[in-house]
Symmetry: C2
DNA sequence: GGGTCTCTGTACGATAGCGCACTGATACTA
DNA sequence: TAGTATCAGTGCGCTATCGTACAGAGACCC
């Protein structure tokens, strides 16, 4: 597998694929987060799923489809392995176990999408923020997340001021600390309690896909 | 293909598969609608996608996965063809064109999921109601839809009273008429104008998958 | 060291939809 | 025909979040 891959370092905001456009590469994150986003007229892109070292971008290639179902953007600084989308058929032939792995992962991402839809609709900003921070921490391998309130607001699909209010509460409770685009997680356990169950569900869902 | 299938008539509320449980059958709707739903603790099931004669239930079987990513429920009276999930491998072998068709459809349903997530989050109940009615009409082949406000509220993930208020507006404008669980579409064109763009996007998305 | 930009705190009226409860009307049932 | 259940209209206080705007504080640039 590794022989197909090259390591890359990518900056926040880099667009890795566009909805409806062909994939150029598939990406396997090592550190950092990729956002999958949906853009509706008149709104900022909304994050409908995110990808870290538990997953990959490009599993739809296993459907023998060259196009990306969603736009993918680097959300926090990303170290990843990538390989050319065109090599997918070759890779699948020479690595029989890859097919099943991609299929299971694609299935998990469908489950996740659905879960996320409900989460976004039913759960309050404060809980969704906590979930987002937990996922970001898992993927950054660090307590220090380079995320501004505005950035989080966009991915959550809410106003910046709504994020600020939720963040203030978390900070006042000693769960996080932040300043000018740097967020630190101080008390992970209580952050999990502040989050909706969707965080736990998400972790378990993707863990199952790796079996 | 037909040799694998048997026709069935199913009542509203019939559960066709449960999230995380094995598929027993795949379904090809002829008339009527299937809801794909996500259930979060403390909330009614939320419709995250729906299926009519343009599509099928069970495309995830093409991933060689036996389980359903979402729960599927009959939303309006359903005539469909179904075939045993276990026959999928055989069917795929004997019908080479089926594989590609299922793959394209699965891809389209991923695109749709993502679109729906944004729609549910950003668009008002009134527009989402219009979209739901348009889709239901397409699939029912009839202007007369057996849907109560409560039923619509549940699938949209809102209160019944919110649906009533939106429905009253549509009725007052002569776009629909309804009474006790029977809704008639009077002016489809204006209903489309009342809907968000997501309706049109959805139709086009699934149409592309059939090419 | 001064200017500029970015990030965060805050305020506040506006709005959509919640949550709930009550009512009358229609349809079904005995 | 009376009794019951379902469905839709309505009211109302409540809450989360919107939408917008302004100001202070830290970071960056020259």
């Amino acid at each position: 597998m590794k022989s197909y891959c090259e390591p890359v370092d990518l900056k926040v905001g880099t667009v890795l694929c566009q909805a409806g456009q062909p994939f150029r590469y598939a990406y396997f994150p090592i550190v950092g987060t990729i956002s999958l986003t949906e853009t509706l007229a008149g709104h900022e892109p909304l994050e409908t799923d995110s990808i870290g070292n538990e997953g990959m971008l490009g599993s739809a290639l296993v459907l023998n489809i060259k196009h990306a179902p969603q736009t993918a953007v680097v959300q926090t600084p990303l170290q990843a392995l990538r390989f050319r989308a065109k090599q997918m058929p070759t890779a699948l032939r020479s690595l029989p176990s890859l097919l099943g792995a991609l299929q299971r992962y694609l299935y998990a991402s469908m489950v996740e999408q659905s879960q996320t839809t409900g989460c976004i609709h039913f759960h309050e900003v404060a809980r969704r923020l906590a979930k987002a921070l937990l996922l970001a921490q898992d993927r950054a391998n660090s307590n220090h997340l380079p995320l501004t309130h505005q950035h989080l607001a966009d991915t959550l699909g809410v106003r910046r001021s709504a994020v600020t209010i939720a963040a203030i509460k978390l900070q006042r409770d000693g769960i996080i600390r932040y300043s000018r685009g740097k967020i630190s997680i101080l008390d992970r356990e209580r952050l999990e309690n502040s989050s909706c169950r969707c965080y736990q569900a998400s972790v378990e869902n993707y863990a199952k896909a790796l079996l």
